[in-house]
């Protein structure tokens, strides 16, 4: 009997060694979401950061890399109580042989002025001072070209910058302006908790990139800290609360949705630096995270 008991016991122990199975709990009303790839960005130096994500869809890396910038941008600033749309084109040819340095750091090159008019889709661009900001001081450092397109901007349209023969050579560079973006979530001026996942909802076809930046209303500065890349085109993604909790304990943030058509291989005959031509749609939604 003892032998039988021992055998039965061993059978029980040997056979019953599985662990209780986990119960997977799916949240109610969950939708199919595009995966979201998160890339933390290096914190910018607030004393020398030139800005540009929220207005020009221009990252600090772009600013450091490209001496020539040819941008046409349609931007929405959604703060809930006010929604402002602006469209413009900016062109800068910076001479890196004449850099502006601050505490040993090169913040930019001198903005070259063409001897012939520069147009975009036939509209003459106006030369304005190229401002470099350093330690809250704005320093004019050459010129850049600007054309306000508010009211005339047309989404999903080709734009071409043109200029006659000049010291840099003739210019004829096209770019496609992507469709406009509408963001449903998060809503501008909205207050969200870090303890819950944050739904990201937008419309606008294309390869969306979302920049998450700290927004400091008093200075108006936005400091990008994270790039979010939805791996799909459904316009649905969720930013996990665990990501939100990992963010700095700043109160205000801005989500910058960017659809951009980039051309990084633009060549102008006698300009030495790399040139970026970019048409972009930008939607900024300003939120409070608790």
């Amino acid at each position: 009997m003892r032998l039988v008991s021992s055998i039965l016991l061993l059978l029980f122990l040997a056979a019953g060694c599985n662990h209780p199975t986990e119960v997977v709990v799916q949240p109610l009303g969950s939708e199919q979401e595009d995966p979201l790839d998160v890339t933390p960005l290096q914190m910018v130096d607030t004393t020398t950061y030139q800005g540009g994500i929220d207005s020009l869809a221009l990252t600090p890396v772009d600013q450091a890399r490209f001496a020539g910038l040819m941008l046409v941008t349609n931007t929405v600033f959604d703060k809930g109580s006010s929604v402002v749309s602006k469209a413009s084109s900016r062109v800068l040819f910076a001479d890196l042989n004449r850099p502006y340095s601050h505490l040993g750091e090169i913040l930019g090159g001198f903005g070259l002025r063409l001897k012939v008019p520069l147009t975009i889709n036939g509209l003459v661009m106006v030369p304005i001072p190229h401002i470099i900001r350093a330690a809250s001081v704005a320093i004019p450092w050459g010129v850049e070209y600007y054309r306000d397109l508010t009211g005339t901007f047309r989404q999903d349209t080709d734009y071409t910058w043109s200029a006659g023969e000049d010291s840099l050579g003739a210019i004829g560079i096209p770019i496609h302006a992507p469709p406009s973006i509408a963001v449903n979530s998060p809503q501008g001026g909205g207050v969200y908790t870090r303890d819950q996942d944050l739904k990201l909802r937008w419309t606008g076809n294309g390869d969306m990139t979302i920049y998450l930046s700290v927004w400091r209303p008093l200075t108006g500065k936005t400091l990008p800290i994270m790039k979010l890349h939805p791996l799909g085109t459904r316009g649905h993604a969720v930013l996990a609360s665990k990501i939100l909790r990992a963010l700095p304990r700043e109160r205000f943030y801005v989500f910058t949705f960017v659809l951009a058509d980039r051309n990084e291989s633009v060549h102008i005959a006698r300009f030495n630096g790399e040139i970026l031509a970019q048409g972009s749609s930008v939607y900024n939604t300003y939120v409070e995270l608790q």
């Binding site: 008991s5 790839d37 998160v38 909790r245 990992a246």
Partner: protein, 656 residues
């Protein structure tokens, strides 16, 4: 032993703890019925009914699980008669929830899902038996909820995961009473979660996962309308209950079924279960299947806004517990019954005289005073044993004793030949045992000192003197055959009716001048020689002579009787002599004696009268006629003249 140590498991009820033990699952309230190690959670007082060692191991196959799963193990032990303890380890009493979540960082997937684990891992019980019908018990059990929620930490351009875990262990007490009102009904009362000793609380963000804090009273009844059927019903202030039935179609097979109820759910019947069990000797195997009515949230994947801890009143019986097939293996080792009778005292009649010890197989050597401490009437036997002097315990006939009544049981003894070896008085341990039929297990046992006298010791009672008479003794047989063989010529012409008389005369005369009257060597009237000793020593006192000649005459088929004389005016001069049956009918008495005072007419058992002749055995050294004359005179004087028989100071003890 290893087997035993590893065995164990318990059952439980919905409102208590684990419900993996098959019998508990199938019966619902079965543990109240079980009255063994499996009663730990149903009612800790039920432990009082368990054997010396009990253990059980259980495994299950959950409907949504990954196959055979070890549920738990329990082991319990009785301590003394009134205490029982039990410990349980139940790793299978666990519910794991995963809230899937992940983040993709620089193309790499990081799992950040929250997990919530409910465990009821350890428990222990202690039961106390106040009397056979009332017991109480205490269960201490633990339950733990653990929440693991990995967090992310943004460090410049990298994100790292940080462990974030919180857990809370609560200790709960269940206090139970069990009252067996009769053999047909028992009642159970359990206070659950009283008091509750909570551990540190979970952080506020996890507080919704806490176990519910519930305390309440639970009452149950067990009805056993017949020995093969048990019905249980349980309910209480926790608004949960169960109804179970157990049936033994044959003693080794158990079939059961149960329904579980919850007044706070719709429908109120939340689950049903069936079971089958089989036992052989100390091993019992059982299987059960538990099926829940509401199947929502019982799968591997569920959709819910969250898991409210308040709904998890018991891990094994909550809205998320799966249907399951359970198997249990229970082993009881070293069975120890609750005594049903107690020995109150033992009284022996006196010392045991080896010569008379054969009578003790039928005549009590003493008695044991016992009391029935059980609830019903019992059949009780008493046994007596002396090591080496007896080959085994001698049992008395069983007698019936009503509950709470006392009775004397006789103690009998069958001795072996060793009892005759001692020449002097010895003292032995005698073991007295009482047991209740039909089991062979002792309910109570005690020892008593027993004085065994030497082989020649006599208690002075002429009735027991007969046990020294040994006509079958080889020496006696040899002596009588030799004497009669030598006298064959003188006996050959004797008429048949006188043959016995003449043989006795020859025999007695053969000892004339050869035996000497000698007082007891130990100056005691209580020393009696066996006939071979008297023949060997060629002498003895009156009782030795009477025993010797009773043996000699008996060996040739002559009936004899002791004549015991204890003169009332002088008891110290008591005397024993002999009379023998000549076999002559009264009409032939004149052939041996003209004087009727020389013989006595006595009737045998068939009513036939024959002629008996008294002989003074101490006078045989002078020849038969002298012994006859002396004996006849003595007998006539004592019985006819002084009326000794009538007055009772003369006794004639037949040795047939």
């Amino acid at each position: 032993m290893l087997t035993f140590l590893l065995f164990g498991m318990t059952c439980s009820l919905a409102r208590s703890q684990t419900v993996f033990e098959p019998r508990g699952v199938s019966l619902g309230a079965s543990a109240t019925l079980a009255g063994d190690v499996r009663g730990i959670f149903a009612n800790p007082a039920s432990l009082s009914g368990m054997d010396l060692w009990e253990g059980e191991i259980a495994s299950t196959i959950p409907s949504q699980g990954s196959g055979f799963q070890f549920e738990g193990i329990t082991a319990g032990r009785r301590i003394l008669d009134a205490l029982a303890v039990n410990f349980e380890y139940s790793p299978g009493a666990e519910l794991d929830f995963v809230f899937p979540s992940s983040v993709r960082i620089r193309g790499l997937e990081f799992a950040t899902g929250r997990t919530v684990t409910y465990k009821e891992l350890l428990a222990g019980s202690l039961a106390v038996t106040f009397n056979p019908s009332l017991s109480a018990g205490l269960t201490i059990r633990s339950r733990t909820v653990t929440v693991s929620d990995p967090q992310l930490d943004l460090q410049d351009t990298t994100i790292v995961t940080v462990t974030n875990e919180a857990h809370r262990t609560s200790i709960l007490f269940d206090l139970g009473l069990r009252w067996e009102a009769s053999e047909f009904a028992a009642f159970s009362l359990v206070g659950r979660g009283i008091p509750m000793v909570p551990g540190s609380s979970l952080p506020a963000e996890f507080s919704s996962y806490e176990f519910p804090r519930q305390s309440g009273l639970e009452a149950g009844i067990v009805i056993t309308p017949s020995p093969s059927v048990g019905i249980t019903l349980i309910g209480g202030t926790l608004r949960m209950g169960s109804f179970g039935v157990e049936w033994h179609p044959i003693p080794s097979v158990t079939l059961g079924g149960a329904t579980f109820l919850d007044a706070d759910q719709s429908p109120a019947v939340i689950a049903g279960a069936v079971s089958a069990g089989w036992s052989i000797g100390p091993v019992a195997m059982e299987a059960s299947y538990l099926k829940f009515v509401n199947q929502t949230n019982r799968g591997n994947n569920i959709v819910a806004s969250g898991i409210p801890g308040s709904s998890i009143r018991a891990v094994e019986m909550c809205p998320y517990s799966p249907d399951r097939l359970s198997f249990g293996l229970k082993v009881a080792i070293g069975s120890e019954r609750i005594p049903q009778v107690r020995i109150l005292g033992v009284e022996l009649n006196g010392a045991i005289f080896p010569a008379a010890c054969r009578t003790l197989a039928y005549r009590p050597l003493g008695r044991v005073h016992v009391k029935n401490v059980s609830q019903g009437s019992v059949q009780v036997r008493a046994s007596f044993f002396i090591d080496k002097l007896m080959d085994g315990p001698t049992e008395s006939r069983p007698v019936t004793i009503e509950s709470d009544k006392e009775m004397d049981l006789p103690l009998l003894a069958v001795f072996n030949e060793s009892v005759h070896d001692a020449t002097a008085m010895t003292v032995h341990d005698g073991t007295v045992t009482v047991s209740v039929s039909p089991t062979d297990e002792a309910d109570d046992r005690t020892q008593t000192r027993v004085v065994v006298r030497g082989r020649n010791d006599w208690d002075g009672n002429v009735e027991t003197l007969r046990y020294f008479v040994r006509p079958e003794d080889p020496e006696v047989l040899r002596v009588t055959r030799d004497i009669l063989a030598n006298a064959i010529d003188s006996l050959s012409g004797v008429p048949g009716p006188l043959q016995l008389f003449r043989k006795v005369r020859v025999l007695c005369n053969a000892f004339a001048g050869k035996l000497v009257y000698v007082n007891d060597p130990r100056e005691s009237a209580d020393f009696v020689q066996y006939p071979d000793e008297t023949l060997h020593l060629r002498g003895g006192d009156c009782d030795d002579m009477a025993v010797c000649f009773a043996s000699l005459l008996g060996s040739i088929g002559v009936g004899t009787a002791f004549v015991d004389v204890v003169p009332p005016d002088n008891p110290d001069s008591s005397h024993v002599y002999l009379m023998f049956d000549t076999g002559l009918a009264p009409e032939f008495a004149s052939h041996i004696a003209e004087n009727s005072k020389r013989y006595v007419l006595r009737r045998d058992q068939k009513g036939n009268e024959t002629v008996w002749i008294p002989i003074e055995t101490t006078a045989i050294m002078k020849g038969f006629d002298e012994a006859w004359t002396f004996g006849a005179k003595q007998f006539y004087n004592d019985t006819k003249v002084r009326s000794g028989l009538v007055d009772g100071w003369v006794k004639v003890v037949d040795l047939q």
